[in-house]
């Protein structure tokens, strides 16, 4: 092929390349990068108290105001509490179920299907189910706790976040179980055999073989689970609408309220940027650790 000809072909290939990437790029441009950049502009402008007035450029004033507001601090604290309530429990439960169902025994297929089953629910379905279970009049949870007719767990600021967390953990059990099972399958059998030959009993094998071999999965699940928990919205909206008394007003829910209740997208943008930074840090931590693990493996 002559140079001229191949130059034409290369140009044709390049053109095709751009054409294939373009549809995705347009969508990303409009629905990811534009709104992302817009957040920074929104953060620098204060929304007027009455609709119709022009937005006012205030520099970093609004950012400082929001970041130092007690409302934001409370929301952030609640979000972190929510993460701490859901992620570790979810991982431990998933791991427990996965270890119990890992052995090749008769009937394990049924247990595995049951433990995976909650992935077939949605956040909304799980929330509606648990809302009825927590309901002071008809809820079985309240009935069994002997709290029928009392202040419902969702109306009590002391228990509302826990109730939301229980709902979330249950909905995520399936995913957690699937991830942990996949991790367990990655542990080579000969390691167990070696441990068995060395005379390690079940508990020792778990602590000295399974857990260390599973640590990448555990770490990974912790980070990903945290990212997901930071983005929680549906269960809050259905179960508590951020209440009672803002006790479950997590970051994303407060952003939603800022925009769709208070019409203040300036404040929302500052919080959104904060959320982005948190997720970014978690992602970087994960990439760093993954990188280090790769170099260990060599």
């Amino acid at each position: 092929m002559s140079a001229q000809r191949s130059a034409r072909r290369r140009a044709k290939d390049a053109l095709l390349g751009y054409a294939l990437v373009l549809p995705s790029l347009v969508v990303f441009g409009v629905f990811v990068f534009y709104p992302f950049v817009k957040n920074f502009s929104l953060a620098l402008h204060r929304t007027p108290p009455f609709p119709g007035l022009p937005k006012k450029y205030v520099g970093l004033d609004q950012v400082k105001d929001v970041l130092s507001s007690s409302e934001f601090h409370k929301s952030l604290r609640i979000t972190i509490e929510f993460v701490m309530l859901t992620v570790p429990v979810g991982i431990v439960l998933g791991l427990l179920l996965a270890v119990l169902a890992h052995k090749q025994l008769r009937g394990m297929g049924i247990y595995r299907t049951i433990f995976s089953s909650t992935v077939a629910t949605s956040v909304a379905a799980a929330s509606v189910i648990f809302w009825t279970l927590f309901n002071p009049q008809i809820g079985l949870v309240t009935y069994w706790m002997g709290r029928s007719g009392d202040l419902g767990v969702l109306e009590d600021p002391k228990t509302a976040l826990i109730a939301v967390a229980v709902t979330t953990v249950w909905q995520n059990i399936g995913l957690s179980f699937i991830l942990m099972s996949a991790g367990l399958q990655g542990v080579p059998d000969d390691l167990y055999e070696a441990a068995a030959v060395d005379g390690a009993d079940g508990a020792r094998r778990f602590w000295h073989v399974t857990l260390p071999m599973l640590s990448p999965t555990l770490f990974f699940s912790a980070v990903v689970g945290s990212i997901m928990a930071f983005q929680a919205f549906g269960q809050i909206d259905i179960l508590t609408r951020g209440g009672p008394d803002d006790a479950t007003n997590v970051l994303v829910y407060s952003i939603y309220e800022d925009v769709f209740r208070a019409g203040n997208d300036g404040v929302a943008a500052v919080k959104a940027i904060a959320l982005f930074v948190i997720v970014l840090i978690l992602t970087i931590v994960q990439l760093r650790v993954a990188e280090r693990r790769v170099s260990y493996a060599r």
């Binding site: 092929m1 002559s2 140079a3 001229q4 000809r5 191949s6 072909r9």
Partner: protein
């Protein structure tokens, strides 16, 4: 009609020259082997003929047509790859049919041609299997069938046998030769295996570092290697190449190696003299060296290093006085000299080759 002509074909990757100004003609109905060590540029050359790789300079003709600007699919060539490049998700039938589909061959015609190709390569029973359900040899035949089915002007084969085990390779060699004869196909065949080259090629083109070293029939390149590279590359065990000083003893030209002297073939001596060389490299194939009794004139003295017994023959490796090694190939009925013993080696001068030690070029 369907010959392939390369003129000044060159390929550069940055500063390195992969193929350097190669010109050669593949005749119609010829099986031409491109032979060379890995990295010699033979595969790159083949890919340029196919149009998969762009040329830096030169011209390629297929038949009467210059194909420099022709897309691979329009060159009327079929290629067989080292990995066979079968489409794993398709049945054998679909694989063989694949090149016909893109060419809009009518359905009946396709079925006919597929059946014919499958029959020819003994694949009729396997048409509905997937490649993963076939043995290595069967996959290789599917790759051939996929090439044959199109009835192309020429076939390009890139180490098609190198993924087969030794026994199957030997059998497939014979089948390929038979197939070539039956189809009267024009084939350019790339390999690093000199046995394939010698047994299959009508002519062999030997490449080293992108440069065409020699083009000739297998017998020609064996009997008259054009240079030291070819001399050492073709033949097992390789040709002995021994360096020595040019002298004249009693009017006849002699190569002085250590204390011994070997008489030179006249033509070589004349060529060496014309070039004003003081030293030359003498090349002798191991079968052209004999162990002789003491006192034979014009023999070399060597110490036996090792004797390799191969059953039907033996290789005696001896070290000359100046440290150079010489291998003798002899029948296993002859007595093997003990190791460390001293022997006299006679060179059959009429079969000796002489090379310029600097350029490596053949003399005479």
């Amino acid at each position: 009609m369907s010959g392939i002509t390369l003129s000044g074909v060159t390929k550069r990757f940055g500063d390195t020259i992969a193929v350097d100004d190669v010109s050669l003609t593949v005749d119609d109905h010829e099986l031409l082997v491109l032979l060379g060590p890995s990295g010699c540029g033979k595969s790159t050359l083949l890919r340029m003929i196919a149009g998969l790789e762009e040329m830096t300079a030169g011209e390629i003709r297929i038949g009467d047509r210059v194909v420099n600007d022709v897309e691979p699919k329009d060159r009327d060539l079929a290629m067989v790859f080292q990995s066979y490049a079968l489409y794993p998700h398709m049945t054998v039938r679909a694989n063989i049919e694949f090149p016909l589909r893109s060419r809009k061959v009518p359905k009946d015609q396709r079925a006919l041609q597929v059946a014919e190709a499958a029959e020819m390569l003994d694949l009729t029973d396997y048409l509905d299997r997937k490649p993963s359900q076939l043995s290595g040899g069967q996959r290789q035949r599917v790759a051939l069938a996929r090439a044959v089915v199109r009835r192309p002007a020429a076939f390009l084969m890139d180490e098609p046998l190198s993924n087969l085990d030794a026994k199957l390779r030997a059998a497939t060699r014979i089948e390929l030769v038979e197939l070539q004869r039956r189809l009267e196909a024009t084939i350019v065949y790339v390999t690093h295996d000199q046995v394939e080259a010698m047994t299959m090629g009508h002519r062999v083109a030997i490449l080293d570092r992108g440069v065409l070293q020699q083009l000739g029939s297998p017998q020609e390149v064996y009997d008259r290697p054009a240079n030291l590279f070819v001399a050492r590359f073709i033949g097992t065990p390789p040709m002995n190449t021994v360096r020595g000083r040019l002298e004249t003893a009693g009017g006849t030209p002699v190569v002085r190696i250590g204390a011994d002297g070997v008489e030179l073939p006249g033509a070589a001596a004349a060529a060496a003299a014309a070039d004003g060389l003081l030293e030359i490299v003498l090349g002798v194939r191991p079968e052209h060296v004999e162990i002789v009794t003491d006192g034979t004139p014009g023999a070399l003295t060597a110490t036996v290093e090792v004797v390799e017994h191969l059953g039907h023959e033996q290789h005696v490796v001896g070290r000359l006085g100046d440290g150079q090694l010489v291998t003798v190939r002899q029948g296993s009925h002859l007595p093997a000299p003990p190791a460390k013993s001293s022997v006299r080696l006679a060179v059959r001068v009429e079969h000796a080759h002489c090379f310029d030690p600097e350029t490596g070029a053949r003399l005479g």
